[in-house]
């Protein structure tokens, strides 16, 4: 397993990358010299599409990482705009500033009031720079907590959309208590007195994701990922070789299917072939149906029962060996 032989999947990737490069080169030549190259390009485009089909019929964990990070993947604002009405954004943590990487809003879902929070990744460089690539500072998490407190006060459910590479690793974020903000949110979400439904839509990057991802139902899109460390980071630490990210992606068991099997995710939401961005409407419909079903089911559960269930769910997570089962109590 440690030897470095390119896997068949890596081979397909290389072929596709080579083809795309060649197609680009031909297109550039065509533009620069005004020569028609369509006849030359057409078979290459067709071959590239075939390769994509091959790759995405059974995507490897590494391909799923690529899909989760896909720049055209539906974002929080797309989900909010399609699934909710009467959206009123809330700003600021009342302590320091408004963090654009994390959005909080009052909204209606199927006519019912809900509080929506989520990582606010953008779709292009400009949006992403403005929103810090969806990497919150502590004030982002504190804004989310403030919004959740509102939901609790009115007993409205919380819907949380998760899509972040992680909490922002900056000096100011540290100084303002990034760790404390995340810890606080995790603890408060574990006992928030209102239903919480989480949808992991893209990248679930470690503590920065978990800080808004503790809930009664945790749903995950088929090609989203959820991981304790990025595959690149894991490869760098374990093998001192960030280029082994592909191997790390497989080892970390970060796909929706794996996490469902491990009991971390309650339901996997299927995506269109080739990823959510290929058919956003189908994706929205899937998420809408699932949210509706879970919110409906949670609404009727008495709050104390809900809190006990939530506690027990997280309490059971993990795998341990126990030598003797004698009880101390």
């Amino acid at each position: 397993m440690t030897e470095r032989r390119p896997s068949p999947a890596a081979d397909l990737d290389r072929q596709l990358a080579d083809l795309e490069q060649e197609i680009d080169r031909l297109r550039r030549r065509s533009r620069e010299h005004s020569v028609p190259v369509d006849a030359e390009i057409a078979p290459l485009v067709e071959r590239a599409e075939q390769l994509r089909v091959q790759i995405y019929t059974h995507p490897s964990p590494w391909h799923i990482v690529q899909l989760a990070r896909q720049s055209q993947r539906p974002r929080l604002l797309d989900f909010l705009g399609t699934l909710c009405s009467d959206v009123m954004e809330l700003h600021g943590d009342r302590l320091y500033r408004d963090d654009p990487a994390l959005l909080a809003a009052l909204a209606r879902f199927n006519g019912q009031p809900v509080v929506v929070i989520g990582h606010n990744k953008g779709k292009d460089t400009k949006e992403n720079i403005a929103r810090n690539f969806g990497m919150p500072y502590p004030e982002g998490y504190r804004k989310a907590l403030r919004a959740m407190r509102l939901a609790e006060k009115f007993r409205y459910p919380v819907i949380s959309f998760v899509d972040t590479p992680g909490a922002y690793p900056g000096d100011e974020a540290e100084e303002r208590g990034q760790a404390e903000a995340i810890a606080r949110n995790i603890q408060e979400m574990s006992r928030l007195r209102t239903p919480v439904v989480v949808v992991i839509t893209g990248e679930g990057g470690s503590g920065g994701a978990l800080a808004i991802a503790v809930g009664d139902a945790v749903l995950m899109l088929q090609y989203a990922v959820y991981t304790v460390i990025s595959p690149e980071g894991c490869a760098a630490i374990l093998w001192h070789d960030a280029s082994r990210a592909r191997d790390a992606a497989a080892a970390l068991k970060l796909t929706a299917e794996d996490l469902h099997a491990l009991g971390v995710v309650d339901e996997v939401l299927p995506e269109p072939f080739g990823g959510a961005h290929r058919d956003p409407d189908a994706t929205f419909a899937t998420v809408r149906e699932a949210l509706q079903r879970h919110l409906q089911a949670l609404r009727t559960v008495p709050i104390e029962v809900l809190l006990d269930r939530r506690y027990e769910k997280y309490r059971r997570m993990g795998r341990i060996l126990e030598e003797s089962t004698q009880s101390i109590e």
């Binding site: 397993m1 440690t2 909490a167 922002y168 690793p169 900056g170 000096d171 974020a173 540290e174 100084e175 303002r176 208590g177 990034q178 760790a179 404390e180 995340i182 810890a183 606080r184 995790i186 603890q187 408060e188 574990s190 006992r191 470690s206 503590g207 978990l210 800080a211 503790v214 959820y226 991981t227 304790v228 460390i229 894991c234 630490i237 374990l238 080892a251 970390l252 068991k253 970060l254 996490l259 491990l262 971390v264 939530r310 506690y311 997280y314 309490r315 997570m317 993990g318 795998r319 341990i320 060996l321 126990e322 030598e323 003797s324 101390i328 109590e329």
Partner: protein
């Protein structure tokens, strides 16, 4: 740790007579550098003699993901530390005050938190709850144990939820951050203490220095993420030298009303009234 008569202080580079260092609770007599302690050493210098009763000694990690070389690393750590896992938990007294105390062991896979560490911390919180005792945890950890993937991330939720129940029950939880306390442990139980203490010079932070420097493309000041820096930024309550830790904890335990270990008063059962 290397044996020998002399120990070299990693900060001031002086050679210190090992016995003297140990008498001084492994604080350098020349420069006050606080050497890292194992969990066993931590409990030894903190708890009253022979008062420790360990919980869950037989609880250990498994390899839930089939992660490359994880079982080997676990066996190595177990052989090196003679402990089953990276945290020791149990009941013990401090100057007579009863507590449930846990200590993470940085020498066991960097004190990383996998399922077993999370489970032991959560059980410690639950036992403190059941017995209405204060909880005290000494952290020393590089963060979540990546060999257990998201299951280790879920330990942040498990431990934080258990501490949340302790708070709901009105029971005190004291957190002491030792060198180093970083990553997932800071983003869960270490920063959820009613009172948060730290040892002088301890490295405390969520993200690592190198990652931050790469992100902001600047060098960070030397004292960044030290206990003293965190105190100044308002992230902790107090920085307490090791030699004063026991008395500081004892005062806090007295303040929060920990049950005191006294000869058990056996009250006569009330006579049944006809």
């Amino acid at each position: 740790m290397p044996a020998g008569i002399w120990a070299k202080c990693p900060r001031c580079r002086n050679l210190i007579y090992r016995k003297e260092l140990e008498r001084n609770l492994k604080v350098c007599p020349k420069c006050s550098y606080h050497h890292r302690l194992t969990a066993v050493e931590r409990l030894e210098i903190t708890l009253d003699e022979n008062s420790f009763q360990e919980y869950d000694a037989g609880l250990a990690s498994t390899d839930p993901l089939g992660f490359e070389s994880y079982p080997d690393k676990l066996s190595e750590a177990q052989a090196k530390t003679e402990q089953a896992e990276a945290v020791l938990t149990g009941e013990g007294t401090i100057e007579g005050w009863r507590t449930v105390t846990g200590a993470l062991d940085f020498y066991f896979m960097g004190g990383s938190m996998g399922s077993a560490v999370g489970e032991k911390v959560a059980r410690a919180a639950e036992r403190a709850h059941a017995q209405r005792l204060p909880l005290l945890i000494f952290s020393a950890s590089g963060g979540a144990r990546m060999q257990e993937g998201v299951l280790s991330l879920m330990q942040l939720a498990k431990t934080s939820a258990a501490i949340g129940r302790l708070h709901d029950a009105g029971l005190p939880y004291l957190s002491v951050m030792c060198d180093p306390t970083t990553g997932g442990v800071t983003a869960s139980f270490a920063f959820l203490g009613d009172v948060i203490l730290a040892e002088p010079g301890a490295l405390i932070g969520f993200a690592g220095r190198r990652v931050i420097e790469q992100t902001i493309r600047r060098k960070l000041p030397e004292d960044f993420q030290t206990a003293e820096f965190c105190l100044q930024k308002g992230l902790l309550d107090m920085v307490v030298p090791r030699t004063e830790m026991r008395s500081a904890l004892s005062r806090l335990l007295a303040f929060v009303g920990a049950p005191r270990l006294v000869p058990v008063q056996i009250e006569p059962a009330p006579a049944a009234q006809p």
